[in-house]
């Protein structure tokens, strides 16, 4: 048995019966990492010593009958969340030497729940990117086909979960950065409602859009992770003080009485026919589980990318001003003056995409351009918010593709930032409106690359998403999806049979 291939709930079952220990599981995960990290490259930093200490402590808690919700479960953390005593780079050279003196609230919560932190997952620098090609520490690859991107910006998290280099992971989503790599790597990814999960200790990209969420092997695990990370935090003044439900209650209910809206704009020009087919097959499965589907319209969808690429860079240009070589991170020691020290440190530390976005943001906020760009984009954001409000008068959730295509080849869009930006057209509106959104595997392309189905709901309706996602998973019989290219022969058989179980259209 490969314990690294288990879901959280499968593993917990074995841990509680004493059939496997957390230390054994953690060792198995590191062995798996040794096997395939060279091909996948999903980690920036591994912390084996600390992890084994945590695993030992978890085993003791289990023995004492004092286990937490994730006791003994090996997880990875996107390298944008601060981990006390473990280097946190945000995928950037400028933070290469940074060792946080505190834990992000979500990390603290995972530790309290008994989780074992395996390492820090690769990501696009400062979470800016859709392919993970903007990582200063090497490009994580798609475990399903390592010539292809794993998606971004939480690409290391998604690739790691898909390759069993961890049991589950935490990512962050500013314009699709959890859902898109989850879709590309065939795992479940949830972006919670803005304010549902504390952002304290998350290195900020665009503060009005950023949200932390889980990437997991199945929907059950996603609910388990949400139970641990959701909730108000006085250290994050934008987190919402509102009761947190038990997300597991959302599972195992049918979909009778649920209305699913199908936004016509999400099935427009540029949608790969194979993605279209798989997603529609998923929607049919939702109907079979009892849901009613209705067509809805989100007429301003096509303006989301344009609004986002003003708002997000504007916020980023302000957030990233803190990286100046004074308090942490890289400094050019040869600079003669303070201003030169700022400029030199930043120029050497930031990669091209980060510079590009800082410049767009600074330009959009500069005098004379503010109304034309930032104000205009913020007004269009209102139109997008209103689109969703109107749609949710007619339905409980929305179902659509996550991305117009499957994962493209590494390098394919690397020189064309705009074409990369446009690939996020179906995930960006969720963030602009602060809604929860989930990506659930719903099939494969003929080339064998995973396809995800996206669902969105009104604020704080994560339970509806999990309920629908769980039913979809049951109907399609895509349990934890496995890849073909990395595993041993025994595994290949498992994954092939799992693939076959996905109902033919």
């Amino acid at each position: 048995m490969n314990v690294d291939a288990l879901t959280i709930h499968e593993l917990q079952n074995l841990l509680s019966k004493g059939e496997v220990s957390s230390v054994e599981t953690t060792e198995a995960v590191y062995k798996r990492i040794e096997q395939c990290e060279e091909k996948v490259g999903s980690y920036i930093t591994l912390c084996r010593e600390q992890a084994l200490e945590q695993a030992k402590a978890a085993d003791k808690r289990i023995q004492d009958g004092n286990d937490g919700a994730l006791c003994g479960v090996p997880v990875s953390i996107k390298d944008v969340m601060c981990t006390k005593g473990i280097r946190t780079t945000a995928g950037s050279r400028i933070l290469e030497p940074f060792v946080p003196p505190y834990d992000a609230t979500v990390v603290e919560k995972l530790k309290t729940a008994g989780a074992v932190i395996i390492g820090k997952a690769g990501m696009d620098e400062f979470a800016m990117g859709s392919s993970n090609e903007n990582c200063a520490y090497g490009i994580p690859r798609n475990p399903w086909n390592t010539d292809h991107i794993c998606g971004g910006s939480s690409g290391g998290s998604a690739a790691g979960v898909a390759a069993d280099e961890c049991i589950a992971s935490l990512g962050s989503d500013t314009g699709g950065s959890i859902r898109q790599p989850a879709s590309f790597c065939g795992v479940v990814g949830l972006k919670p409602t803005y304010g549902r999960v504390s952002r304290f200790g998350l290195i900020a990209y665009a503060s009005s859009l950023d949200q932390i969420g889980p990437l997991t092997k199945d929907v059950h695990d996603c609910a388990l992770m949400m139970n641990v990370i959701a909730g108000y935090d006085r250290k994050d003044s934008t987190s919402v003080n509102r009761e947190t439900p038990d997300y597991l209650n959302a599972l195992s209910k049918g979909l009778k009485g649920m209305t699913v809206g199908i936004p016509e704009e999400y099935f427009g020009e540029g949608l790969d026919p194979e993605v279209d087919k798989a997603v529609k097959n998923g929607i049919a499965a939702l109907r079979e589980a009892g849901a009613l589907t209705v067509p809805v319209s989100l007429p301003h969808t096509d303006y989301g990318v344009a609004a986002y690429y003003i708002i997000a860079p504007a916020e980023a240009s302000s957030n990233l001003a803190r990286f100046d070589g004074v308090r942490y991170g890289l400094r050019d020691m040869d600079a003669a003056s303070l201003v030169e020290m700022y400029s030199q440190s930043r120029s050497q530390g930031f990669g091209p995409e980060v510079k590009r976005r800082i410049i767009i943001g600074t330009y959009a906020l500069s005098s004379g351009y503010y109304d034309a760009y930032y104000k205009k984009a913020s007004q269009v954001r209102t139109l997008i918010v209103d689109d969703f409000k109107k749609a949710f008068e007619h339905c409980d959730i929305l179902a659509s593709p996550v991305t117009p295509t499957t994962a493209w080849r590494i390098g394919e869009k690397a020189d064309d930032p705009l074409s990369m930006y446009l690939s996020d057209v179906l995930t960006i509106p969720t963030n602009l409106a602060g809604l929860p959104g989930i990506s659930v595997p719903c099939g494969f392309s003929s080339a064998g690359l995973p396809i995800g189905l996206q669902m969105q709901a009104a604020h704080f309706n994560e339970e509806k998403l999990l309920q629908a996602a769980w039913n979809l998973e049951q109907e399609l019989n895509i349990k934890s999806v496995k890849n073909d290219n990395l595993a041993d022969s025994e595994w290949n058989e498992t994954s092939k049979s799992r693939k076959r179980r996905i109902r033919l259209q």
């Binding site: 030497p97 060792v99 003196p101 505190y102 803005y194 304010g195 009005s208 934008t238 919402v240 301003h300 303006y303 344009a306 690429y309 003003i310 001003a321 070589g325 004074v326 308090r327 942490y328 991170g329 890289l330 400094r331 020691m333 600079a335 003056s337 303070l338 020290m341 700022y342 400029s343 030199q344 120029s347 930031f350 091209p352 510079k355 590009r356 800082i358 410049i359 767009i360 600074t362 330009y363 500069s366 760009y373 205009k376 984009a377 913020s378 007004q379 269009v380 954001r381 209102t382 139109l383 918010v385 930032p417 705009l418 930006y421 963030n431 602009l432 409106a433 602060g434 809604l435 604020h459």
Partner: protein, 94 residues
């Protein structure tokens, strides 16, 4: 043209970034393409529409002005490229 190489240089300076002439040229081309795309926002009449800066209607989050736990000085300074145990050291300003 939406943005010239000179404007890119100027904005880079405001953002405390040094770009080589080559970087400025590449970036000017890319930004011009991006801003031309963004101009699609002008297709929409937004007169009288309130801008959204936050997806949830948040109000100021106040708390009592009480001293609470914070990082010890030594820990707060630990990541600094240059410090003297009491303060961050930077190149001379005056």
């Amino acid at each position: 043209m939406k943005i010239s190489a000179d404007e890119v240089s100027h904005v880079a300076k405001l953002a405390r970034l040094n770009l080589s002439a080559e970087e400025v040229d590449t970036m000017a081309g890319q930004l011009d393409k991006i801003l031309s795309y963004v101009a699609k926002l002008d297709e929409l009449d937004t007169q009288g529409i309130e801008p959204t800066t936050h997806a949830l209607s948040l109000h100021n989050a106040f708390r009592e002005d009480q001293v609470s736990e914070s990082l010890p000085q030594e820990t707060a300074l630990a990541n600094a490229p240059q410090q003297n145990g009491e303060a961050f050291i930077v190149p001379r300003v005056i």
